[in-house]
Amino acid sequence: MGLHHQVIVVGAGLSGLRAALAAQQDGLDVAILSRVHPVRSHSIAAQGGINASLANAEGGRDDNWEKHAFDTIKGSDYLADQDAVEIMTKEAPGIVYEMEHWGTPFSRTIDGRIAQRPFGGAAFPRTCYAADITGHALLHTMYEKSVKEEIKVYEEYLLLSIVKHDNACVGIVALNINNGEIIAMSADAVIIASGGYGRIYGNSTNALINTGSGMAAAYLSAGVPLKDLEFVQFHPTSLYGTNILITEGARGEGGYLFNNRHERFMKNYAAKAMELAPRDIVARSIQTEINEGRCYNNAYVLLDLRHLGRKKIMERLPGIRDICLHFAGLDPINKPIPIQPGQHYSMGGIDTNANGETSLAGLFAAGEAACVSVHGGNRLGGNSLLDTIVFGKLSGHFASGYVKAKKKNAADQALQAELAKVKAKVSRLENSAGKENPAKVRSELKTTMMEEAGVFRTKAKLEAGLAKIKELKERYKQIHLLSKIKKYNLDLVRNLELEGKLALAEVIVLGALKREESRGSHFRTDYPTRNDEHWLKHTLAHHTESGPRLDYKAVTITRFRPQARTY
């Protein structure tokens, strides 16, 4: 038999590294498999911070996990599972202190504690930060810890398939990008920590590698359901042009939003919270200003930081300033920043419980690829980094518990059969004589998702989107590759990813079409209110040959009854 590890973690972002550290700490033989070197993972790009009720900041001295839980649940528009939110918010201070002890260079308060800033959806500073490079600071620390603990990483491997045998996950099939070889690896447990799918959308703040291929593998090959995929977060402030993120921290530090009449238009939408209302609300407000013409170039409004002054901008938002200088050619110290909403985060993902378990024994998921659900219909800024570390850690420990209790499962044949199947599929793709240009399919998918499944949705748009995706899926079968080279074939990698993107897009759009209400990020202009009577439930999408089959499951409510959501 070939390669074997007790636990294989797919993904080397914050959630994957944390899961691997946990399982290795439990004494297991662990390996990570990742499309890129760990520090190139998308977690590196997180800017604003990580939430924990440390109560370090003036104005937040009486913060506690219950307040954090309430804000998270209200922010989620009551779709989050409250037992899971409880776990996350209780664990939050502990994991932030642990990262600090491992070396994360958090910014500091005057008395030397971890500094906290206000973020949307909380009434006071709760978001712990390292200037505006919090993800970078956390991911480097997590990677440093993994170097110290000598975690094994298979770098530049692309997960293609998850292998099942006797109703349990027994390994994976992956492409070694470096030499084009397709290999099978057996494992007693697999943890998917492969991040989000932002690049299905045209205007996305995500890394170019965020194609959702891990989520797609779980859905297509392992047959586990995806949960709540119609809930797509649009960040209010992405830089016009490149859609690089301008952190919510910019508004947390006091930045204003202006339309082309120099009006702080948030007063018309969230009079109390203003710029610090939750993301779904601010994104819709900006999009409304744009749609109704109170904008520039039909495309953007302005985020103004000038009144914060040079010192504060240099101290708290140096990364944002750099981004503006390099990518927009302007200095926010003396010019407002052109911004527009951009796809940012997936609240939905692989259906798991708070232990990271999926419906398939031995298959776990964590981080943005998973949906526990702690974010429900809308994630609060600063809660995703928290989610990745808390549930990365828990899934690692639960996976090792599973492995220790499990009896051996001879899976060699299943692995070899799946390997042969995947090899045949790849070789079909490589040798396709079709006439379709894959770049066109990819770009039409992006436009379709922006236009038909964006900030504002309607039945007609979603139906058009679904029809288009079905067409693109057909056309995908006819694509031809420009290169058959084995070594580092980007053309092959990107077109393997495209198959998964199309599958996820279909799930997003179908879920959105069926959900006839507005909740969190999912806004239907034809059903503009929340409907708890019919829709206080999670969507589950199961893969079938003819497309996704949807069913639903109840939301866990413990202490907070759904109420109207105003800010």
Partner: protein, 237 residues
């Protein structure tokens, strides 16, 4: 149209690297990284390069562009102001394929300096306190994205294959200077010796190449100062 001269090399089939020319239909705000994607999608699917965040934080796409080490994503064509753009892999690192270099050696050096916080006192229940001033000491160094641009630009690293190099030395300083770390002189010992900090010739090539405006030379000089002090405060063996 902008002309791109791109260095190509596939060790499986080519004897030596060579340049290939592509005409790219360039948009006004196009970055070099976007131009490379244009090539892969429209002209030549066999071109290989690394990419991830496209926002100058992940460190994947460092390469040599018009004679200087830069991040492809952060380099806009209009800023180069040049009708022909030459792109090649980071110099002095083994080429894996085309613009992709082998970073193993770079990360091995990084691992040599114990790139993690060491504090042997038992962890407090909450955070270890650190003043704003103490934290400010490492502000510049923590911006490093491990892209390798400095290492590849360093003439000492190019000739002395054992030289730890500017990125790893900056990391070493980042921990040595962190008020929470108590490895102290042991950290200095890790960067002592003929392939350590003292080997630096203070040519500032690293600083010039850094896409994050870090000056590794500063960190290296601090380490040198520490090493010299150590030497004089302890009896020579």
């Amino acid at each position: 149209m902008v002309t791109f001269k791109i260095e190509r090399f596939n060790p499986d089939v080519d004897k030596a690297p060579y340049f290939q020319t592509y005409e790219v239909a360039a948009g006004k705000e196009m970055s070099v990284l976007e131009a490379l994607f244009y090539v892969v999608e429209n002209l030549d699917g066999s071109l290989a390069f690394r990419y991830s965040c496209r926002g100058a934080v992940c460190g994947s796409c460092a390469m040599r562009i018009n004679g200087k080490n830069r991040l492809a994503c952060q380099t806009l064509l209009k800023k180069l102001k040049s009708p022909v753009i030459t792109v090649s892999p980071l110099p002095h690192l083994p080429i894996v394929k085309d613009l992709i270099v082998d970073m193993d050696h770079f990360f091995k050096n990084y691992e040599k300096i114990k790139p993690y916080l060491v504090n042997n006192t038992s962890a407090p229940e909450k955070e270890r306190r650190q003043s704003i001033l103490e934290r400010a000491k490492i502000d510049e160094m923590i911006a490093c994205i491990l892209c390798g641009a400095c290492f590849s630009a360093c003439t000492v690293a190019a000739t002395d294959k054992k030289f730890i190099g500017p990125a790893a030395l900056t990391k070493a300083y980042r921990f040595w200077a962190d008020s929470r770390d108590n490895l102290g002189d042991e950290r200095l010992a890790l960067v002592a010796g003929e392939h350590g900090a003292l080997r630096c010739h203070t040519l500032f090539n690293c600083a010039e190449a850094c896409p994050k405006n870090i000056v590794p030379t500063y960190s290296i000089q601090q380490l040198k100062g520490g090493l010299v002090k150590c030497r004089f405060s302890k009896p020579a063996k």
